[in-house]
Every structure is written in C-alpha cells, then in structure tokens.
Point group: C2
Chain length 223, copies 2
DNA sequence: ACAATAATCTAATAATCGTTAGACTGAAAG
DNA sequence: CTTTCAGTCTAACGATTATTAGATTATTGT
C-alpha cells in the first residue's frame, strides 16, 4: 500500500532527474540561467536545430523546471526559479568533484586555479569593491543586464578587440562568463594577455555565485 | 573545435544526471544517505531483487557517486561524498517546489507544516538543546549510529510500541526518519498520538539537515 | 575439496529516449 | 486574405535503458 505511494514520490523526483540526463538539455539550462531566451537563440547557441531544441524544451517544461511566455512571434523560455540554477550548479559541482574524466577534460581548457572556494570568492568581492581588480563580464550584453557579478563591467567578447582602450593596464582583469564550461572568458583572457594586459579567468558564472550564497547585481529592465 | 570539448563536458555532467533519472536509483541513494549498506539490504528495503539492485548500483558507481567496499561475503556500498547527499536533497527540494503532482502526493502522507525552513530548523535545534522537545529518531539503530540530528534519541519504529515508557508525556516529541519521503516517522507519530503523547513529525532527514548547513552528530563506530 | 552465500557478469527482451522529417498553428506583415 | 516567421505536434527510425533469467566469481563454513 505505502509502497505505491513511495514509488510515486520517487517517480516525480526522477522526472526532474530525467530532465538533467541529457547533455543538450544541460547546455540549454545553463543558457537559460543567463536569462530568458527565445527558442531560436537557444538552438543556435547550443548548435542544434530548432526542432530538437523545441523537443528538449518540452521535456524541461514537463519537468516544470522551465516556463514559457509568448511575445509576438517569439516564445521566450526561462528557468522556473533560482533554485533550478542552483540545482544545475550543484549538479556540475558534484560531477566535477567525482568524475576524473570531467576533471581531465576541464584541465584542457583551463590552466590555473579558477575554481573558486568560499574564501577566494569573498576576497575577490572585496578587491572588486575596492577597485583593486576589474571584474569583466564577457557575455552578450543582455545577459549582463539580466544579472551580473557585483561591480562587474560588461564588454561582450565580440566587442572586446575594439574596446581594449576601455580597460586599465595597471589593474588585474578578472574575466568570467556563463560558468565553468563556458569558453568565452578563456578566449577573452587569451586575447588580453596577448595585448599585454594582466588578466585571468574564473570559472564562476552568475548561477555559481548565487549558489555560493553571494549577491548578484541586475540592471533595471524594461518589461 | 571547441564544440566537441563542450559536448564532452556536458556529457560528463549528464552521466550524473542519468544516475538520478530512475526512481529506484533515487530510493537507493536515499538509503545510502543513511549510511553504508550491503546490496541485499538495499534490495530488500527498496523492494527489488538483488540482481536489479546490483544493476542500479553499477550505474551509480559508473557515475562515481557511490563507492563499494568488500568485507567478507558482503559488498558494502556508500555515497562517494557528503556532496552527493546534498545533491539528492537539492534535487528533491526543487522537485517539491515545482511539481504540483509531487505536492499533491506528499500531502497524502503528511498533514501539517513538517517542511522546515531555516528559522524553524534553528528554533528546533534550540528547543532540543534546552530539552523543551524530544527529537526522536525512528530509523534502524545502525543508521542512527552513523549520523543523527543533534540531541536526538534513537528508538527504531519496530521497537517503539514496547519502549513507549522511555518517552516523556509532558514534552512534545518531534519524530524524523530518512527524509521527506520516508513514512516511518508518520507511522511513529500516528502510534504516539493514539497512545496520548504529544507528537509531530518533520520531513527532514540527516541529508536535509546537512544541506541546510547544520551539524549532525555521530556515534563512535568500530571499523 | 565441497557446498552455501553474496553479488556480479552476460545475454535477451520490452520499453523508452534522442533525433529527424513533415504537417500544422498562432501572430504579424504585406 | 495570403504569406512569412517562430515554433509546436506527430510519426518514425535507431540507439539506450530497465528488467529478468542463467551462468559465473569470490568468500566463508563444513
């Protein structure tokens, strides 16, 4: 009798687990953690076609971890809550901690200590506040406007080359993007170092920052 | 070029997601969050046969979220770290928050406000410390010995009926077991109320308590 | 050495999932 | 009112996965 009920409970939780069991869906979730986006944008950023993106979004929607909103011809998807971004951060933290294969793969794109701990986050926050370092957000501008790390300045990777004169040469530049699997900040640091700036990247994105219990900033957005 | 690498990263995380996508595996994970157990025990507690349990454990082991240790004829499985219990707690918290179906199912086994928040946890901890309430752990004794809530007393559900005289009639009794999906504390409360005790249950187990950043206690164990 | 126990490994089946293609829907623009 | 655009829905395929049964391995007790 109670076994049926128990099974029902675990089945419901497994619905969310299933939603997290496909690489493409995880990639979409990470994109959605940067703010709401229409299907076409998600599809092109995840390098899949729209039909497949739509199918994956359906699974995520049925697990109730994303929601949709129509505006004109576009359908904007967003995470169903901040806790979903936290779950994604938690999931990849556990994977990074225990999967040697993931650690090896990650070590190919990152070089140093860009995995932050509680203390290094606080010290970064402190240095950013004092202006000792410049925190640089290299994601597309809409994502920055939606939410960004405290005191961060926005220069999207695509504009970085022609906006180098906005950056200081005497301060350390700390670049970040969407999270530990996002390559934009790596590319930004490579460019900056080649041009003689003192730059490094961190693996954190907004979701990781929030999951660590730290605040993020957000521009007032028109609705 | 970088797309392949990106896919590889998400694929690795999805391995952990896949491990969380089956109800039976989640049930096994919750059991393992109570302490290490041999395959046979896991199988009987999850009401599946040993072969199937072994197959599920293999998936969990390949996702590196559980580990195995042989002792004589038995192979004991355990979680690969506390972070895995935290991930499970996080997953079912998100599911409970967003899935209406799960909320409905849960409301059938629980009646009142047994979902704790940060403040209610702290106030419970405080009252338990002062002795204003008796926190009662109704899980099997080994699980209590492995880890239990602060100041909790152990009376396994199976022994509760004949050990009622150990319980106070003037204090409120707060029962808990393995987590929000575990029915033992509900049964304990039903029994206690019928016998005239002042009793209620909480949905927290050790994993939820730890995930909330609170300490748990543990008996010295022989190895 | 031999049987019993605890568990894994292999093979096979049924069910589910990822992916793609084609027909369809709802909103806007000519 | 037709066309176009953004996206969904349906159907279909091949690839995975869950589950079961049967044979096999490691350890202990006789």
């Amino acid at each position: 009798m109670s076994r049926d009920l128990k099974n029902l409970l675990y089945e419901q939780v497994a619905r969310v687990g299933k939603a997290l069991s496909s690489p493409k869906r995880l990639e979409i979730l990470e994109l959605l953690a940067q703010g709401e986006k229409p299907v076409e944008v998600l599809a092109s950023e995840a390098a899949i076609d729209m039909k497949l993106a739509s199918a994956h979004l359906r699974v995520l929607k049925e697990a109730r971890i994303v929601e949709a909103r129509r505006e004109g011809r576009f359908i904007y998807y967003r995470l169903a809550g901040d806790d979903v971004a936290g779950l994604w951060a938690n999931l990849h933290a556990v994977a990074t901690e225990h999967l040697v294969e993931l650690q090896v793969a990650l070590s190919q794109i990152v070089s140093g200590p860009e995995r932050l701990t509680g203390e290094t986050r606080l010290s970064l926050l402190d240095k950013a506040e004092k202006g000792d370092v410049l925190v640089l957000d290299v994601r597309p501008e809409e994502e920055y406007q939606n939410a960004h790390l405290p005191h961060a300045r926005s220069i999207p990777l695509s504009e970085l080359k022609r906006r180098l004169d906005e950056l200081p040469r005497d301060k350390e530049i700390v670049a970040y993007c969407r999270g530990p699997f996002c390559l934009m900040s790596s590319e930004a640091v490579a460019l900056l170092k080649k041009r003689g700036f003192k730059a490094r990247k961190i693996g954190d994105g907004v979701a990781e920052w929030l999951a660590a219990g730290l605040p993020v900033e957000s521009e007032a957005r028109s609705r």
